[in-house]
């Protein structure tokens, strides 16, 4: 069941399913993208991310399920609805026989209130290439032209399917700035990507899709129980540290093997406050191999994929 508030979200999906013959490309997808946020769709290749996005932007029909994008069913394909969404598909387009400026101007003509063409070209970093033939652009530049074409209509909701794949690090940062530009204007973005740093830098919430199912979704900082997973404080026991450990935070779990001490706790700072004077009292000013480790998004993500693929639901 979904509440009325959820139905008012820019993207509202329940029990989405897409079948190609005997294959279920999308098995069971529920999504809620809230107004003004950047929402990331994560998952390995073939997980159904692109199929899901294609259904949301109305270039593919679903087999079943309830899909509302900006309050409408994408399958209706209404022009006034199209004018409010921006799409950057996964494959880079090749625009033959036109200059960069002509391509962007061409797409601007279809929208009731497009952004200024020169401004968008500058924004994607193609200012110097504006008069160049689009087919002579490098792969990264062609990708940026795609982004310009996707956002020229000043959409309220933007779908970016792997927008930064193939971009160099500088161009990726520029693409991030562009996403932030739209976020600052109150627009909503749905992003699929393989880059987890991109998710951490841009997205507030994310969903992980594996084998056509959403296996996890929520705020990026809490994904996969990330907030619930304790941090690990670890160091090597120096020869002089033969005393037993000091009093540690109540939740601390200590493991010790082959001279390496690992303290798992939700309060690593408190643990450090206890450990440092304890070491100093034995004349150890530097704890050897000291580390405080919190699970990275990448570890969480890989764990999620592994456990869900082992489950055999592929």
């Amino acid at each position: 069941m979904s509440t009325i508030a959820e139905q008012a979200n820019p993207v509202h999906v329940r029990s989405l399913r897409k079948r190609y013959g005997p294959v279920n490309a999308v098995e069971e997808v529920d999504l809620d993208v809230r107004s003004g946020e950047v929402f990331a769709l994560l998952g390995p290749n073939g997980a159904g991310k692109t199929t899901t996005v294609e259904i949301l932007v109305g270039v593919r029909r679903r087999t079943s399920g309830d899909v509302r994008v900006l309050g409408r069913d994408p399958a209706e394909d209404a022009p006034e609805w199209r004018a409010r969404i921006g799409v950057v598909p996964q494959t880079t387009g090749a625009y033959t026989d036109l200059t960069v400026r002509e391509v962007v101007e061409h797409f601007a003509a279809f929208y009731p209130a497009p952004l200024p063409v020169a401004e968008v070209i500058d924004m994607v970093g193609l200012g110097k290439q504006a008069r160049k033939q689009a087919q002579t652009l490098s792969g990264g530049q062609a990708r940026r032209l795609d982004v310009a074409v996707g956002v020229i209509g000043d959409p309220d909701l933007i779908f970016l399917d792997e927008p930064t794949t193939g971009l160099d690090p500088v161009a990726r940062r520029e693409a991030w700035d562009l996403v932030r530009y739209f976020t600052d204007r109150g627009k909503t973005t749905v992003l699929t990507t393989h880059y987890l740093d991109e998710v951490e830098a841009l997205a507030q919430r994310a969903a992980v899709i594996v084998g056509g199912r959403v296996v996890e979704s929520g705020p990026v900082a809490e994904l996969g129980g990330r907030r619930a997973t304790p941090a690990a404080v670890s160091f090597a026991r120096a020869d002089r540290l033969d005393r037993s450990l000091p009093a540690l935070p109540g939740d601390a779990v200590v493991e010790e093997a082959e001279g390496l001490v690992v303290v798992r706790t939700h309060h690593p700072t408190e643990a450090m406050a206890a450990l440092l004077p304890w070491a100093a009292a034995s004349g150890v000013r530097e704890l050897p191999d000291l580390r405080i480790h919190r699970p990275s998004l990448e570890e969480i993500y890989l764990d999620l994929i592994r456990s869900n693929q082992e489950g055999g639901v592929v």
Binding site: V57, G58, V59, R60, P79, E80, R82, A83, V87, P89, T91, T92, G93, A94, Y95, T96, D97, L98, E102, E105, H106, F107, A109, F110, Y111, P112, V149, G153
Partner: protein, 285 residues
């Protein structure tokens, strides 16, 4: 109070309607301009669709000599009538099928489908492209034929009229068939090759390079199923003397049948286009 309100509502209604209409207009203008730019800037389309018929006219027009068997008509003139029909088929059928295939393969159609472009604007652009390039092709071929090979221009108003409606109906039929045919082209790279095959075969069996009356009967039957044969026949009635008609299969020009077959192909092409043209799907990249 209610009267001004009603007026305001009406005015607002007009304001709301107007942008929609102007977007159709703006989109159609933008599509048309892109179509023409891509035609004239693309060497492949210029060489294969615009120049090829002209090169054929110049080369073969210089080789062919003698009269068509059973008539007093210069073989060259029969050939010129045929090559003008080919020229129009070339820019409408070949040019359009290739351009739709390229647009499908390069992601243009997918991006257009993802934009609010009115679907009609896309087809208006194609029509403008065929109209401009078809007119240009016809004028160029006529100019070369008249200046270099002494082709007499149509002698009566009726013949001019026939020239116009035959080419118009032929172009419409070929345009619609091109949209449908493009769906069997798997990618941009093979487009020219795949389109050229049916074009070449039809040229050989439709009375362009060889007099239609000299062809084996079964070939005539096959050719009569397709539009090009009827287009060349219509144009022979425009450019050749009336007594040439007795070597036509029916012994007369059969202009009513020319109109009927071409119109039937327009309808068939329209139906096929509706059935095969896709804005989305696995082949639309």
């Amino acid at each position: 109070m209610s009267a001004p309100n009603a007026a305001l509502t009406q005015e607002r209604g007009a304001v709301v309607l107007d942008p929609a209409r102007s977007i159709v207009w703006r989109s159609a203008v933008s599509r048309s301009s892109v179509e023409l730019k891509s035609f004239f800037r693309n060497r492949q389309s210029l060489v294969f669709t615009l120049l090829l018929p002209i090169v054929l006219l110049v080369v073969l027009g210089s080789i062919f000599s003698g009269t068509v068997p059973g008539t007093h008509t210069d073989f060259k003139q029969m050939f010129i009538a045929g090559i003008i029909a080919c020229g129009v088929m070339s820019v409408s059928f070949n040019g359009l099928a290739i351009s739709v295939a390229i647009e499908r393969d390069t992601g243009m159609i997918r991006r257009l489908a993802s934009s609010p472009m009115p679907k009609s604007a896309y087809f208006i652009g194609k029509v403008v492209r065929v109209a401009v390039t078809g007119t240009l092709e016809t004028l160029l071929l006529l100019a070369v034929a008249v200046l270099a090979f002494g082709l007499p221009l149509p002698s009566t108003t009726a013949r001019w009229e026939t020239l116009v409606w035959v080419l118009l109906l032929g172009a419409v039929a070929c345009t619609l068939l091109a949209v449908a045919f493009s769906s069997v082209i798997p990618n941009a790279r093979s487009a020219s090759a795949i389109v050229t095959l049916p074009f070449l075969v039809l040229q050989f069996i439709s009375g362009v390079f060889f007099p239609y009356s000299q062809l084996p009967a079964w070939m005539q039957t096959v050719a009569a199923l397709f539009p090009l044969k009827w287009m060349t026949q219509g144009l022979r009635s425009v450019f050749l003397p009336n007594d040439f008609a007795h070597v036509e299969p029916a012994g007369v020009w059969e202009l009513d049948r020319v109109a009927l077959v071409l119109a039937a192909w327009c309808l068939a092409g329209l139906a096929l286009s509706f059935l095969t043209f896709r804005w989305r799907g696995p082949n639309v990249r």
